[in-house]
Structures are given as structure tokens and as C-alpha cells.
């Protein structure tokens, strides 16, 4: 943290540093200096503010409906468009049950319709218990979704992640796919878009071609929007992979490709 003392030279490097325009040597010097110089850190915040204004000066572009739906689905597992219900409803359910029990006690005190009330309350209690059960299930699903999102992020968040774009072939010309390969973790995430639904007994299978030979990388199904994904473990050295492809295969997948190729990149 004992960087060089504050000087005009560092002040002059700050705007280029904020822009990301410094070359390696000056970048290293600037970062060492910044670590120990409050004044430069203060000025850097001002430059970053100017750049934010510059960034926000572009013309806004509306995301497509597909992108919007995909992004808002990120939270669906955890909280959805309304995160509160999974947390609040069980409490509400318990209160309602307590209130209904109170009514039941009232009923016992002197109502002739005691039996009918009890039956109705029992049914209500059972309904609420079943609702609580289903909410428990939703919360479990939400946790699983969050776990999957977190794992996906770990694959794609590293700096060295490579992206391979797969284009739709004749069998599915509108389809597209992307593979994010993380060479450090040696795993990959594959996402397919706009693939047609398959008849029963068929599945999509992902392959990577290494050393001229296809290696099975997992099977996947698509949702009604044609979206599907696969996580691939034990990916070999990125440089040795020549291509990625998706074929249509018998359900369960096969060790060597036999069906029509729909995506390649």
C-alpha cells in the first residue's frame, strides 16, 4: 500500500485509467499508486461518474419479449414476480387456522350445528394443511432453482470463459445455441434456443468434436419455447475442441451420433 506519492502525472493518467485505455506498464503503476492515494481514488470516482453519463447517453433499446421473459424468469425459482407469498402465506395460513379453531370453540359452546361446523372446519384445516404442504414444495423448488442459477453463474462468471455460438442447420434453421466453456473449472454450459419440439422416444444430444471424434456431452429436452440447456463436466482442454454440435437421437442418448444434426458451431 506504499505507492508512489501523489503527483500531477498520476492525475493525468486517471481519465485514461477510468476509460480502461492504459497499457500494461502504466496500468500496473496506476493501480499500485491508487491503492495508497486517497486523492486519486476521490478523483477516479468523479471520472467514473462522467463515464457513467457517457454510457447512459446512448439511445435506449427495448429488450425483445423473449429476452425479457428469460431474464424475469431468473427470479422465478426463488421469488417469482411476487416473492412474498411463499414466505407470508404459511403465516397467514396458520393465523387462519387459529381463527377457524376459535370459531370451532365458539361453536362447541352452544351451537346446534356443532357437528356440521366441525366437519366443515376439519375440511378447512385439511385444505390449509395441504396448502402449507404445497408451499413447502414450492420453497424447495425455489431453493433448487437458486442453486442451479448459482452454479450457472460460477461457470460463466470467470474472466477466461470462452463462448461458442452454434447456428441452426437445415433441420432447424431458426435455432441457435451457445456454449460457455470455463477452462479453469473444465466445465461448460450449453443453451439452445428455438429448437422444435421432438416426438416421444427422441431427444436432443450435445456433442463436442475433439481430435476429429465426437464425444457425447449430454442429452436435453426443450420447453414449449424451444429452450433447453445442459451442463457438461470434464471438458478437455479448450484448444483441443474443434466444434460443438447437437443431433436428434433416440431417447436416453447414444454413444456415437446417428441422427440429423440440428446445430453446429
Amino acid at each position: 500500500m506504499n505507492g508512489s506519492p501523489h503527483s500531477g502525472r498520476f492525475e493525468e493518467l486517471l481519465p485514461a485509467y477510468a476509460l480502461g485505455a492504459l497499457d500494461a506498464e502504466e496500468l500496473r503503476e496506476m493501480e499500485e499508486h491508487l491503492a495508497g492515494c486517497d486523492e486519486c481514488r476521490r478523483q477516479l470516482r468523479l471520472w467514473n461518474g462522467d463515464l457513467e453519463t457517457l454510457a447512459a447517453s446512448v439511445a435506449p433499446v427495448a429488450p425483445s419479449e423473449t429476452t425479457r421473459a428469460r431474464i424475469l424468469r431468473i427470479t422465478a425459482g426463488v421469488a417469482g414476480a411476487a416473492p412474498a407469498p411463499p414466505r407470508r402465506l404459511p403465516g397467514w395460513a396458520l393465523l387462519a387456522a387459529a381463527a377457524l379453531l376459535a370459531v370451532a370453540v365458539w361453536g362447541v359452546a352452544g351451537q346446534l350445528r356443532l357437528r356440521g361446523d366441525l366437519e366443515r372446519l376439519t375440511a378447512e384445516r385439511n385444505r390449509l394443511a395441504s396448502r402449507v404442504e404445497s408451499l413447502h414444495h414450492e420453497v424447495t423448488q425455489a431453493r433448487d432453482e437458486a442453486q442451479r442459477a448459482s452454479e450457472a453463474l460460477q461457470v460463466v462468471a470467470d474472466r477466461g470463459v470462452r463462448t461458442v455460438t452454434l447456428a441452426g442447420l437445415e433441420a432447424a434453421p431458426r435455432a441457435a445455441g451457445h456454449t460457455y466453456v470455463n477452462p479453469l473449472r473444465r466445465d461448460a454450459l450449453f443453451f439452445a434456443h428455438d429448437l422444435p419440439a421432438l416426438p416421444s422416444g427422441k431427444t436432443y444430444e450435445l456433442w463436442y468434436i475433439a481430435g476429429g471424434k465426437p464425444v457425447a456431452a449430454g442429452t436435453f429436452a426443450v420447453d414449449p419455447q424451444g429452450t433447453g440447456n445442459v451442463k457438461v463436466e470434464n471438458v478437455p482442454d479448450v484448444a483441443s475442441i474443434q466444434a460443438w454440435a447437437v443431433t436428434i437421437e433416440p431417447a436416453g442418448g447414444v454413444p456415437q451420433p446417428t441422427g440429423a444434426m440440428v446445430l453446429k458451431g
Binding site: T53, A55, A56, V58, V61, L72, A79, P83, L153, R159
Partner: protein, 186 residues
């Protein structure tokens, strides 16, 4: 701090607490400008939309890392987007860069409603006029650094200009930009 930034700050802390409603609101407020920036940098609409998804996934999972003392929420989101887009750009074959510039993109430009529309148009106008105050060479150097992620040396190579000249164009240009922007604020 204006009301909008205050709302953004509240949304960020709610998103950090896994509030999906706040995330949706944050998306509605900032996705169009973020996608505008991504489209400007990547020049490919489909790729820009993919990076937009990555950016919002990162916001959802890392909102707790946002530090209000370093930037506004909007600034954080835009710089996150810029950084991801530049990473993408660096990996892309430069010769294929602009072969897919989307012709119909203008048609997708949003017209924000109410005050957001005025602010957005006003901001664009302010920055545009601030940029007009720079010499074309200064503007070009800043744009190459900001929207294409080039360093001093790379800009010098691209423009076939001496390195020292590029450095001083950036320094002078950034100072002029600052003066013009702060004059407009007063």
C-alpha cells in the same frame, strides 16, 4: 441525490435480499439503457440481448456486492454491462465485427414515457453537445477507448497516430468533456 437514484438504491438492497418484485422493477427501469449500451458496443442485437441476460443474472446473484460509495446503481449496472460487452468483443473475430449490424434496430428504440423520456432525451442531448465541443480526433479516441475497449497503443495503431498524440487527445478530450458536462449541470 434525486428521487430516481433513491428508488434505485432501495431496489438494489431489496434485490440483494432476493426480492423478485424489486428485480423486475430494476429491469424495467434500466434494461433499455443497458441494452442500448450493449448494442452500441457489440453492434449485434442478438449478442447484445444475450449479454443483457448475463448482466441481469449477475445483478440478481451479486447485488450484495454493490457499493453505494463507489457508484450509483445505474452506473454500476452500466459499467458491469460495458465490461462484459468488451470481454465479448475482445474474444470476437475483429473482421466479423460489423457484418451483422441490425438494420431495423432503430425501430426497437424505446420511447420512455413521462419524465424518464425527458431525462433520457435531455441526457443524450447534453452529452452529444458536450462531445461536440471536442475535436473530432479527441472524440474518436475517447469513443475507441470507451465503446471498443482499446488501449492507448491499440488506438495509436488503429488511427496510425503517434502514441503521445493519442494520450494527449484522451486527456484533453476527457477534461473538455468534464467541463462541458459540469457547465450544463449548473
Amino acid at each position: 441525490m434525486d428521487a430516481r437514484e433513491e428508488e434505485d438504491l432501495q431496489l438494489m438492497s431489496r434485490v440483494a435480499a432476493r426480492d423478485g418484485v424489486a428485480f423486475t422493477r430494476l429491469f424495467e427501469l434500466h434494461a433499455p439503457i443497458t441494452l442500448g449500451l450493449l448494442s452500441r458496443i457489440l453492434a449485434r442485437r442478438m449478442e447484445a440481448e444475450e449479454v443483457l441476460q448475463e448482466v441481469f443474472l449477475q445483478i440478481w446473484t451479486q447485488a450484495d456486492r454493490y457499493d453505494a460509495s463507489r457508484s450509483t446503481p445505474r452506473g454500476w449496472i452500466l459499467m458491469l454491462a460495458r465490461s462484459r460487452a468488451l470481454d465479448r468483443l475482445r474474444r470476437r473475430d475483429a473482421s466479423r465485427r460489423r457484418d451483422e449490424v441490425v438494420g431495423g434496430e432503430q425501430a426497437d428504440t424505446v420511447s420512455p414515457v413521462g419524465t424518464e423520456r425527458i431525462e433520457s432525451a435531455e441526457r443524450q442531448h447534453q452529452v452529444a453537445s458536450a462531445l461536440q465541443g471536442l475535436s473530432p480526433d479527441q472524440r474518436r479516441c475517447i469513443e475507441l477507448a470507451f465503446f471498443e475497449g482499446l488501449t492507448h497503443t491499440q488506438i495509436a495503431e488503429r488511427l496510425e497516430a503517434p502514441l503521445g498524440t493519442v494520450k494527449s487527445r484522451i486527456l484533453l478530450g476527457m477534461n473538455k468533456l468534464r467541463q462541458a458536462l459540469s457547465a450544463q449541470l449548473q
